[in-house]
Each structure stands twice: as C-alpha cells, then as structure tokens.
C-alpha cells in the first residue's frame, strides 16, 4: 500500500528488549528534550504586564463615536441592526430639540442604543454598514463579568468620552497615552 505521507511510522509490535523494559534510557531522553527547551526562545508573554500588538484588522469592543465638536454621530438609522447577523443591536430614536444641537449631530439621534454582548459575534458588519462613521470596533476585549445582565451594553458603556469636555478620558479611550 502506498503511504499518504513520508512521515508514516509503522507500529512496532515486537516484544521489548531489556533496555527498553527498564525504561531508564527513555526517561533520560525525555528529560533531555525538556531540558533543551530551557534554552529556547519563549513563545508566551507575561500577559497583564506585557501585551502583544493587535493585528490591524482586530475587531473588539464597540465604541460609539463623536465628531470633533463632541456631538454624537449616530442617527439611529438602524442599518447596523439590520446588518447584524446575531441580532444583537437594538435602538430607539428621538428627535433633537432646539438647544440640543451641541449634543447630537443630526436632527434625529439614538436616545437608546444597546448591544447585547452575549449575542454579538464581533463580525464587524455594523461598522461596515454605518453610513455616519458612528460605530467602530476597537482594539479592546469585552471585559469578563460574573452576571449575564452586565453584558447588555447601553449608550453610557459604548459612547466615547467627549473630546471637548473630557479631554483626558478621550485621549485614553483613543489610546493616545500609550
């Protein structure tokens, strides 16, 4: 029979000889392999202190963007929700009142916006669908939690800090500090 690969090893069913039966040479051989690994380059990093760089296409926790004047970009058009294959996004829209022009960019905005992180599969289709550059997937993992109810992310969890009023928090969220 022709072998499928060159690395095939026939199973040897011969009875073991004396040296094989006392196991010691095999144990020493194994120890030598283990010992040699101490001089090899370590493939792991010490995670919380050391972090690996993210790939440029990494898709992590969502953020709702503001424009340069600190107004919310989202207009609750529902395209992210309709694009979402996991049906994780829901929202309720409201009309901007006079005097709220500094808060919201357009005349309609998302009064409530929720992402169910238990459903979300981080596919990034919401980001692709957004016509207003409002939702982005960041280079952050969704933090672990003990209760399921804490995974329903509302607007306070998702919205990026205001670049005008909360400059320090905005810079941190943007990752400008590190």
């Amino acid at each position: 029979m022709q072998a499928l690969t060159t690395r095939v090893k026939e199973v040897d069913r011969k009875p073991m000889n004396f040296w094989e039966r006392i196991y010691l040479p095999a144990v020493v051989k194994g120890m030598a392999i283990t010992f040699s690994h101490m001089f090899k380059k370590r493939p792991t990093v010490r995670y919380p202190e050391q972090k690996r760089p993210f790939s440029p296409v990494f898709r992590g926790l969502h953020v709702l963007n503001r424009d340069e004047e600190g107004r919310e970009r989202c207009t609750a058009c529902g395209l992210c929700a309709v694009a979402c294959p996991a049906e994780a996004i829901t929202m309720e829209a409201a009309e901007r009142k006079d005097g709220e022009e500094g808060l919201y960019r357009e005349e309609k905005y998302a009064a409530r916006y929720e992402i169910n992180m238990l459903r979300c599969i981080f596919c990034g289709l919401c980001e692709e669908a957004c016509p207003k550059d409002a939702i982005y997937l960041t280079e952050t993992f969704t933090p672990a939690n003990f209760a399921r109810k804490n995974f329903i992310y509302g607007k306070p969890d998702l919205l990026i800090p205001n670049p005008k009023t909360e400059e320090a928090a905005f810079a941190e969220a943007k990752g400008l500090n590190n």
Binding site: T75, A76, C77, G78, L79, A81, V82, T90, M91, E92, A93, A94, E95, K97, E100, E106, E107, K108, A111, R112, Y113, E114, N116, L118, P131, K132, R148, K149, I152, G154, K155, P156
Partner: protein
C-alpha cells in the same frame, strides 16, 4: 367603451393589445415586470399627473403602422398615447438607460441624501430608482438648495429639501379635498411646496399626500422617528369607517401599531378597495387609530421578497419543536436572563407608538441612561 378600437403595441419585443388612448406607460404596466418604466410623478389615480420627472422616458423606434418613422427624441411614456403598430424600446435601448441615469442625477442634484434620518427610507421610490438606474457619483459641486423643515399641521411633516417637485400631492389635495390649501410657490429652482400663510391642512383626506409622495418630503408626524420601516411588520387590517373604505395596512411591532397607511399595489400606488371604491383612507384611520383593538386584522401583507421590508420575514418557516421539556420529564428550561428586565429598549410597558409626534429627550428621562 365597446367602440374603442384596440391598438397593437410592441414594447421590448412583447406585443400587447390595448384600447386607443392608453398611454405607453400603462400599456407597459399591463405587461408588467421589468418592461414597465419607472415613474416618479405619474400616478394613475390622479388626473393630470405625469410629464414632470422624465424618468419614464422611452425610445419609440416605430411611430405607427401608417407612419413608421421613429420619433426623433425620447418620449415621456406616461404622457404619450399608443398608436396602432407602435414599437417601443425601454430596457432594450441603451439610449433610454443612459438618459434615465442622467435624469436620476438631475433629480438628486438638490436631494440631501439624508436617508439615514428619513422615515421614507426602505420604501422610497427615489432610493429604488437611484439604485437601479443611477450613478454612484455626482458632478454637482455647488451648494445644495436648502429649506427649513416645517409641519403642515399636527400630522404631516414637510421636508422641502427632499422634494422632487412631482406635484402628486398638489393633485391629491386638489382632487380629493374641496378646498385646496397647499400648492407650489415660486418658480424654477426656488419652487417649493407650501401652504399659503402657514395654513394648517384640515381636510379629512389630506393625509393621503403622505402616501402619494414618492420621496420623504411628506411624512407622517405620528410615526416620525419612531421606528424604521424594515423593523415593523406590515399587516392588512380593516375597520368600519364612515368616511373611507377603512381598508388599511398597519405597520406593527409586537402589538404596537406604529403607522397606518393605505394599501399599495405593485407600482406603489394606492390600491382599490375590495368593494371597487377608491382606496384612499381618511385622517382618522390614518392618524388616530393607533391601538390594536381598533382594527380587525386580516393577516400579514404580501411583501416583495427583494424589498428590505421583507427582512426577517420568512415564508413557510417551520420552527423546530422545543424538546427540552420532553427529554427532561416536564422540567422547563431555566432562563438565565430575561432581556426586558435589563434592556432599556423596547420596554413592554412603554408604547412609543402612542406618543403624539416624534419622541424627544424628555420621553426618555425615566431611564437611568
């Protein structure tokens, strides 16, 4: 009309016999499908409509049996009547396709393209038209014409920036109501739909201007920003109404009635009622009956499978049987998260659809967000 002669007309190599006096557009609609040219201003139920938007341009390659010369220019099919032996090219003519792309570009010159905000998005004829016939870019580099949005009464919202001046609403107001209170002011680039001296529109049937509007210029204020059309479910329903036929389409989500519109046919026009009368509905049905108990539900409306409105609606879906209880000897599956206890959106106790006009920030203050 027994004495009306039948004319043979060939549209895109399909021959059909229609009575004399029929327009090419209506003959093409009898064939149906792709052959029918799109129409933004023509409305078969409104006398005098058509001839304004030029989206229905067709090439007439043979005038008639007696005069077989082709017409030198493209003709507006809604206003050109058929002749015996006429040959018309619509989708088979590259000239027509090219002209239509130009017309779409022209219609979009002053259009703000604010579809993410617009309530008409998803059922907008201009959206469909520009997807099918338009180009992705524009060559226009000047400031777009802008107007301030304003309300025509409590029920109708006018966004003049989105208007393409099809005059359908003017004909509706003229033909359905006794006193016409709105019309077009100014001329040319400045022309706008307006009510004289900010007069409210009070007539019982004036709400129908919302249904005839092909774009989002006239929208329902009671539905404004409440939901997107593709998240609501269209349902046929009726009620006994003294003023109108009472046959409507409800746009529902759960048990909430978000919007009431007249039933539309495949060309986006108001359907005839089942008793043969006109399908226009009155303001009371449209704006004031937002409770499920006001209506007798007939069943889900038929929606074109390619429309965004059909998203999430599956025809003939079979749900698999829940087997947990059987296998676990009657023990019900434990639910770890009741979404309505946590989520602030779509609370069962809050009915956004019952708020008069659009929701504002004060409607959301009760939440902790």
């Amino acid at each position: 009309m027994a004495d009306t002669p039948l004319f043979k007309v060939t549209i895109d190599n399909i021959t059909i016999e229609v009575p004399a006096g029929t327009s090419i557009l209506e003959a093409a609609r009898k064939i149906g499908g792709e052959v029918a040219p799109p129409a933004m201003c023509f409305y078969s139920k409104l006398k005098g409509s058509g001839g304004k938007c030029r989206t229905c341009l067709v090439e007439i390659s043979k005038g008639s049996e007696k005069d077989p010369r082709p017409m030198p220019k493209l003709q507006a099919s809604c206003r050109t009547t058929v002749m015996d032996g006429m040959e018309v090219k619509n989708i088979t003519s590259p000239k027509v396709q090219d002209a239509r792309a130009g017309v779409v570009e022209m219609l979009l010159i002053n259009h703000p393209l604010d579809c993410p905000i617009c309530d008409q998005a998803g059922e907008c004829h201009l959206q469909d038209l520009s997807y099918e016939h338009g180009k992705s870019g524009t060559r226009y580099e000047f400031q777009r014409r802008t107007f301030k949005k304003h309300s025509l009464g409590d029920y109708i919202q006018l966004h003049m920036t989105r208007c393409i001046l099809c005059y359908r609403c003017v004909f509706t107001a003229d033909q359905l109501t006794e006193s016409r209170e709105h019309g077009i002011l100014d001329r040319g680039d400045h022309a706008e739909i307006a009510t004289m001296i900010e007069k409210n529109l009070k007539h019982d049937f004036i709400g129908n201007v919302i249904d005839v509007c092909p774009v989002g210029a006239l929208t329902d204020r009671t539905f404004r920003f409440k939901n997107r059309v593709w998240f609501t479910k269209p349902v046929d329903a009726h009620r006994d109404c003294e003023k109108c036929c009472g046959e409507v389409q409800l746009w529902m989500r759960g048990d909430e009635v978000f919007r009431v519109t007249a039933r539309k046919d495949e060309w986006g026009e108001v359907k005839e009622a089942s008793n043969g009368k006109t399908g226009w509905i009155c303001n009371e049905c449209r704006f004031e009956k937002k409770h499920i108990n006001d209506w007798v539900i007939e069943g889900p409306s038929e929606v074109n499978r390619h429309s965004v409105i059909s998203q999430g609606h599956y025809v003939g879906r079979v749900k698999p049987k829940e087997t947990v209880e059987e296998v676990m000897d009657g023990v019900k599956p434990r639910i770890f998260l009741q979404i309505h206890e946590v989520s602030e959106v779509n609370k069962p106790t809050v009915d956004l659809s019952l708020i008069q006009g659009p929701a504002h920030s004060n409607n959301f203050v009760t939440s902790n967000q």
